[in-house]
């Protein structure tokens, strides 16, 4: 899976990457599913000295990552996660990738099997900008965060933060920690109730345990 941010992923460290990094204990074993050009893995190796692996759908991202010295393979989250043994990693990470998988539920289940903990970051389709675009213009929403047309978007399985929390429940996963970010990339205070997070949160990062 590619990182679904069109520009500037190399120049600035993404906010969700920093949040993910803050959740990862130093020196742990990490699998980044949908590792893109390897920027999150590189960040984790640099700051947290993790033993990191990546799996990325697009060959170009894989080759760039390997040239950076990262342990990344070409593979498909929908197909290849089944190969990994149970609890092989301290963290299985899915950063901005769940919505681009064919079988998000299966992918999340596999991650919960492979990782002691799972970190998922995802865009919130219930963000007020998206809701209002759909309601007011009657068209599929486009934002700077999700800039694709409906016919060329890699994001084929959008969900809302509420939907995701429900799926976690269904799969028996506990949300140990979560951060919701507004469209400026700032963390919403914990005190903000879930229904409001689901309205003003543009993306969120979850730390899950099975």
């Amino acid at each position: 899976m590619s990182e679904n941010f069109p520009n500037g992923t190399e120049q600035v460290t993404r906010v969700d990457h920093l949040l993910i990094a803050s959740m990862v204990e130093p020196g742990t074993r990490v699998l980044d599913v949908g590792s893109g050009n390897g920027s999150l893995l590189a960040l984790l190796e640099e700051r947290k000295r993790v033993d990191g692996r990546g799996i990325e759908l697009h060959q170009e991202g894989v080759n760039k990552s390997v040239a950076k010295g990262l342990s990344v393979i070409q593979g498909d989250a929908d197909i290849d996660l089944i190969d990994y043994p149970d609890k092989a990693f301290d963290y299985a990470i899915l950063s901005q990738t769940l919505q681009a998988t064919h079988q998000p539920r299966d992918v999340l289940e596999q991650l919960l099997r492979i990782g002691q903990r799972v970190i998922v970051s995802l865009p919130n389709f219930a963000h007020w900008k998206l809701r209002s675009q759909l309601v007011l213009t009657g068209r599929m929403p486009e934002t700077s965060h999700l800039p694709y047309k409906w016919y060329d978007t890699p994001n084929i399985h959008f969900c809302t933060l509420k939907d995701f929390r429900e799926l976690c429940d269904e799969l028996g996963a506990t949300i140990e920690q979560s951060y919701t970010l507004n469209s400026y990339g700032y963390k919403l205070p914990y005190a903000v109730p879930y229904f409001l997070q689901n309205l003003i949160g543009e993306q969120a990062v979850f730390l899950l345990k099975h």
Partner: protein, 409 residues
């Protein structure tokens, strides 16, 4: 043969031009005596036996900067120096040398001629201690694991414990996999390139054609051509021609030769080399027989046919390829090329899947190239970037000093 203590060594000083300056031109060799026989998978032993090898760069004090390169079917130890027989640059001259991806300013590179080969290591053309005549078909059948066992003896002899990296393409890649499976503690990183964990039916089929061509040559004399002062050159050349086709992609061949005619305007209605591709393959065959022993070709191709890493390392029925890599701490970089149909990408993927199943630390790049299997011998920028990046990162992790800045010697 003498029975003195310990192996004997030697470095012949063959004269020759040397473009690289300080890179040694001559081959070193070590002979293991009767008290250190090579025990083979077949149950037989070879003693004494000689391993010829080349080294490049300098071994550091901790002996932690060693890269062992394993050569392919028709390669040899002359990785990065002019070949003593052909005068051509070493077969991986583009990859190995000062400032190159395998930087000899940083790493100490070793490459040895495989057991069963014909460039100084003991093989079917070497004297049989029983009668001092060339072994011929009395040479025991060897396997990829036997080749690796012989390399391990050389590494022991050089008093090196851990290899920073074992790398190689094609059959060299099989040796890399065998090293990682047989000596996991001694291999820090492994780079199997354009290879497979076992030979496919198609692969075995092509090798069978090559062997039959050699054995059908009347000059082969049941492998005893040495006694008749003959060489089955025609058979070996045909074997090489057939194999050479498998090293190229259809696309590259079409682009290079198409249906172009060789030095003529129209076909001759005869069996001369009308087409450029015919002429090219004949030339490849002709050049090859000058430097290669036909029996060595039989033995090495046989070793490859027998290679099946999963079966060889299975301790119980139902064991898979993953079990060959169980608990491995080795860091892998698997490389394949999109147009390689001899060892296609799917073979590399099988290796990667097995490594994932044991949660090994693995990188895998499939390099876009139209050059076919031979791409691993060529300067493909993405391929080189991957090797460079992988080695540098592993070297950093292993605490190896970077190459001195500006030192291109």
């Amino acid at each position: 043969m003498s029975h003195t203590d310990g192996p004997s060594k030697g470095c012949s000083n063959q004269p020759g031009k040397n473009k690289q300056g300080p890179i040694p031109y001559d081959s070193c060799s070590v002979t293991f005596r009767d008290d250190q026989p090579l025990r083979l998978d077949s149950g037989e032993t070879i003693a004494p036996y000689t391993i010829a090898y080349q080294t490049y760069g300098t071994l550091n004090e901790q002996k932690s900067n060693v890269i062992l390169i394993c050569h392919a079917l028709t390669g040899d130890q002359h990785v990065a120096n002019d070949h003593p027989l052909t005068g051509k640059p070493g077969w991986w001259d583009v990859m190995v040398g000062p400032g190159k991806p395998v930087d000899t300013n940083r790493y100490f590179v070793i490459c040895s001629n495989v057991i069963g080969g014909c460039m100084g290591s003991t093989g079917p053309s070497s004297p049989n201690p029983a009668n001092f005549k060339p072994y011929g078909l009395d040479f025991p059948v060897i396997t990829i694991a036997d080749m690796v066992r012989a390399q391990a003896s050389l590494i022991d002899y050089l008093d090196i414990d851990t290899l920073f990296c074992v790398m190689g393409g094609s059959i060299g890649g099989m040796q890399v996999l065998e090293w990682a499976a047989s000596y996991p503690q001694r291999v820090l990183t492994a780079i199997p390139i354009a290879t497979a964990a076992r030979h496919s039916s198609q692969n075995i089929g092509f090798n069978a054609v090559g062997r039959q061509a050699i054995m059908a040559d009347p000059d082969w004399h049941n492998g005893r051509y040495y006694d008749h002062d003959k060489r089955p050159s025609k058979g070996l050349a045909v074997a090489r021609m057939a194999a050479h086709i498998t090293y190229l992609s259809e696309e590259a061949m079409q682009e290079k030769f198409g249906r172009n005619l060789q030095d003529r305007d129209k076909v001759t209605f005869g069996f001369d080399a009308d087409f450029q591709i015919e002429s090219y393959l004949r030339y490849q065959g002709f050049k090859f027989v000058e430097r290669f022993d036909a029996n060595a070709y039989l033995y090495i191709t046989r070793a490859v046919d027998y290679f099946d890493l999963a079966a060889d390392h299975a301790s119980k029925p139902g064991d898979s390829l993953a079990d060959a890599f169980k608990d491995t701490k080795t860091r892998f970089c698997v490389v394949s090329f999109t147009s390689d149909w001899l060892y296609p990408t799917v073979e590399a993927r099988t290796i990667v899947k097995a490594l994932n199943a044991v949660a090994a630390k693995v990188s895998f790049v499939d390099i876009t190239s139209d050059k076919g299997h031979d791409a691993f011998l060529l300067n493909e920028p993405e391929f080189f970037d991957a090797i460079r990046g992988f080695l540098s990162s592993a070297a950093r992790q292993a605490g190896l000093q970077p190459a001195p800045v500006g030192d291109r010697s």
